[in-house]
């Protein structure tokens, strides 16, 4: 088996910092030594299919090169999967061992016996987020996962990437692989850390490349000392990057290149936009306009054909047309020479990176005895990109002064049943809600 990931380590000067946080710093040389120890300690993991689980990003980053140096397949197990989904994923991914990593060390347990068929290339399995229905499980060969990573070890010496994504998600893995393939350093924050302390650590550790969602960037821009981070490269992804956040970043970080990335767990890295303008140039659409991918717009929906997407989908489905284009589900609008993102075809609302399906909230609202019908939709918000709004048809006619009390009651009702980001921020009372011919709520 070849492993472009494990091979890439051997070329990196051993005194370079691999990962660091507030307390610790580990060099690439340290990693090389740990790999040999790990092989001696866990000889039975050679060529096996393993799930990897940790609540600490730093501990996970410490373990990835060790595990990748011996196993056949790695499933990056998110922390929030339900037991039945996990069981299904273990079976579909033919997982034999679960490796739990914590501050106490590495704990290995056997979950099944599979006659592992060793593939030519190491497989990395990633899960999409499960907030909108059942999560998908996708499989990448490490080679296709690293296709868009630059590997200039000389230039890489001057880059220090900050990590503020989870390492068991596609976005986090992309940042990780980009840093490692150029022999750069990765400065790791934890999801539990306070933002001020993350910003201070990034400043003190000299982070000069940082990738985050637009909502995370807005929050960073509101912290006291955000402009002390010596940023050269700023990337945004995971949500619509609006012009305000792009302008604000250019304003505060005058020496940085601002890049927004169109990517998803299933499609992989689609394309990047480097002119710090919202959306992307219309000239990207069509045949042979971009390397490795092709874009088309059908009925305002963006379709993408790519040769660097997931190698296979082990759970869930994608809509693919006869020409091999995948439906991204993103609604776009063409304004002169620019393609702008409007929202999701499914009506899914992206609240600061958290996906919300309107139907889930409507079901809760409709279960309130005072509600006949409800319609939930996303409304543009300057802080979190989108926010949940609701229209309600009330059972009885409510007077102006009763509206406020009923609104409050509905919010408390939702708060008891839904995660905070799913609770409607603004509620309006309407006389009726429009339905289409098939009896579904009109969502566009």
């Amino acid at each position: 088996m070849i492993n472009s990931f494990a091979e890439s380590y051997k070329l990196i000067p051993s005194d370079r910092v691999y990962i660091q946080n507030k307390f610790e710093s580990i060099t690439y040389g340290d990693v090389q030594r740990s790999i040999s120890t790990f092989r001696e300690q866990f000889p039975f993991l050679v060529g096996k299919n393993c799930a990897l689980s940790s609540s600490s990003r730093f501990e996970l980053a410490k373990a990835i090169p060790l595990i990748a140096s011996v196993v056949n397949k790695i499933f990056f197990q998110p922390q929030d999967l339900k037991d039945e989904v996990l069981e299904d994923f273990y079976s579909k991914g033919e997982i034999e061992y679960v490796i739990n990593i914590s501050l106490l060390g590495i704990d290995v347990s056997k979950v099944s016996e599979v006659a592992a068929s060793n593939k030519f290339d190491q497989e990395w399995l990633l899960s999409t987020s499960g907030t909108t229905g059942t999560p998908k499980l996708v499989s990448y060969s490490i080679t296709s996962l690293m296709k868009t990573c630059k590997n200039d070890l000389v230039k890489g010496a001057s880059f220090n990437w900050g990590l503020c994504y989870d390492l068991n998600r596609f976005a986090g893995i992309q940042v990780y692989l980009q840093a490692i393939s150029s022999g750069s350093s990765l400065t790791i924050s934890e999801s539990t850390e306070d933002l001020n302390s993350v910003v201070n650590m990034f400043t003190n550790r000299g982070v000069n490349c940082l990738s985050a969602t637009p909502s995370f960037w807005r929050k960073v821009l509101m912290t006291k000392c955000s402009n002390t981070i010596p940023l050269k490269i700023i990337t945004l992804g995971g949500e619509i990057a609006d012009q305000t956040v792009l302008d604000s970043l250019s304003f505060f970080f005058t020496d940085s290149n601002i890049i927004h990335i169109y990517a998803s767990t299933e499609v992989g890295v689609g394309f990047t936009v480097k002119d710090a303008k919202a959306g992307f140039p219309y000239e990207y659409v069509g045949v042979a306009k971009l390397p490795s991918i092709e874009l088309k717009i059908v009925n305002n929906i963006l379709w993408i054909k790519t040769n660097r997407g997931a190698d296979s989908l082990l759970n869930g489905t994608l809509e693919v047309d006869v020409e091999g284009f995948i439906n991204t589900g993103d609604i776009v609008e063409v304004i002169s020479d620019r393609v702008l993102f409007v929202g999701r075809d499914s009506g899914t609302i992206n609240v600061g990176g958290n996906k919300v399906t309107p139907e889930e909230i409507e079901t809760v609202l409709n279960s309130h005895p005072g509600v006949i019908q409800s319609k939930v939709f996303g409304k543009k918000n300057s802080v979190l990109g989108m926010l949940v709004n609701a229209e309600i048809v009330s059972k009885k006619i409510i007077k102006q002064d009763e509206k406020k009390i009923f609104k409050k009651e509905l919010i408390i009702f939702c708060k008891n049943k839904l995660a905070p980001f799913k609770v409607p921020a603004v509620i309006k009372f309407v006389d009726n809600i429009a339905f289409n011919e098939s009896g579904k709520i009109v969502r566009k």
Binding site: S248, G352, F421
Partner: protein, 81 residues
């Protein structure tokens, strides 16, 4: 304007399940240290938009996100006039 924002500020805190309530907030208070998280802050902007029919953050020429309560009030005053 200050009074209205303070009232809605408390509403946003309550709506996002925070226990803090303020009689007054000092202009120099750091927004993210008041107990209002980014969801609460987003809700505040949304309910102020409902009330004033105005989202100043979409109108700004100089795109700046406020760090203190005073800056936040200042932005609304500037665009409401």
């Amino acid at each position: 304007m200050r009074k209205l924002i303070l009232e809605k500020f408390n509403e946003a805190l309550e709506q996002t399940g925070k226990t803090e309530q303020y009689e007054n907030i000092d202009d120099a208070s750091i927004l993210l240290e008041t107990g209002l998280d980014s969801l609460g802050f987003a809700v505040l902007v949304a309910i102020l938009e409902e009330e004033l029919d105005l989202d100043p953050f979409q109108l700004m020429d100089e795109p700046v996100y406020p760090r203190t309560f005073g800056e936040f009030v200042g932005i609304y005053k500037k665009f409401y006039d």
